[in-house]
Symmetry: C2
Subunit: 123 residues, 2 copies
């Protein structure tokens, strides 16, 4: 662990929210969560790891789908309770097939780009 990593505040549930951002386009791709092990593995391997709250397990992004995230850098925020992964996204970040999980507005307008058919990726 580096000095800045030791400042991370994982909160009562042991998790910090992580924003994944495309390092080339700067598009915000997704928001997920990480525990300390997920952050360590991300820093060590250069591949984005998260912690799945629904499955209650460590999760390497793209391990099943092939839609991996190569991590260019990991930033933390001022008070150390949020992270930003700057990544090169393979395929799409969203399980629905969109490049970004934030593909629609609250008015219901679709603004994102669909880049794969989820039926071809997830069985």
């Amino acid at each position: 662990m580096t000095d800045a990593l030791s400042e991370l505040d994982f909160g009562d549930d042991g998790l910090v929210p992580v924003v994944a951002q495309d390092v080339d386009s700067d598009e915000v791709l997704m928001l997920a969560y990480a525990n300390d092990e997920a952050v360590e593995r991300t820093v060590e391997t250069g591949r984005a790891h998260y912690y799945s709250r629904s499955r209650d397990e460590l999760w390497e992004k793209g391990a099943t789908s092939g839609h991996t995230q190569a991590v260019d850098s990991v930033r933390l925020d001022c008070d150390g309770d949020a992270l930003l992964y700057r990544v090169t996204q393979e395929g799409g970040a969203c399980h629905t097939g969109y490049r970004s999980c934030f593909y629609r507005t609250v008015e219901g307008e679709t603004v994102g780009e669909r880049v794969f058919d989820p039926d071809d990726v997830y069985e």
Copy 2:
């Protein structure tokens, strides 16, 4: 409330994480939280509102500092448990004086730009 807003999942604590992104530069500025009232006020007024977990109150960004966020659009993610505010940021988003709260890497390198002196803004 619009149809998409009604899909929001505020979780057990009544909050969703919100990513604020600069609509011009696409820089990720901060991560904060919103309750239903904060989202409604944001959509109604076009000014970014959040819910402060530490102060336990609704919070209009920049109401004290002048560093407001004019909201261009509000996006929600695929499963409705995170929001993206696309904003025009006045001054800096971070109380430390940086443009973005994500101004440093986990290796301890400063990558962000300082745009104001917090001593001039907060008393």
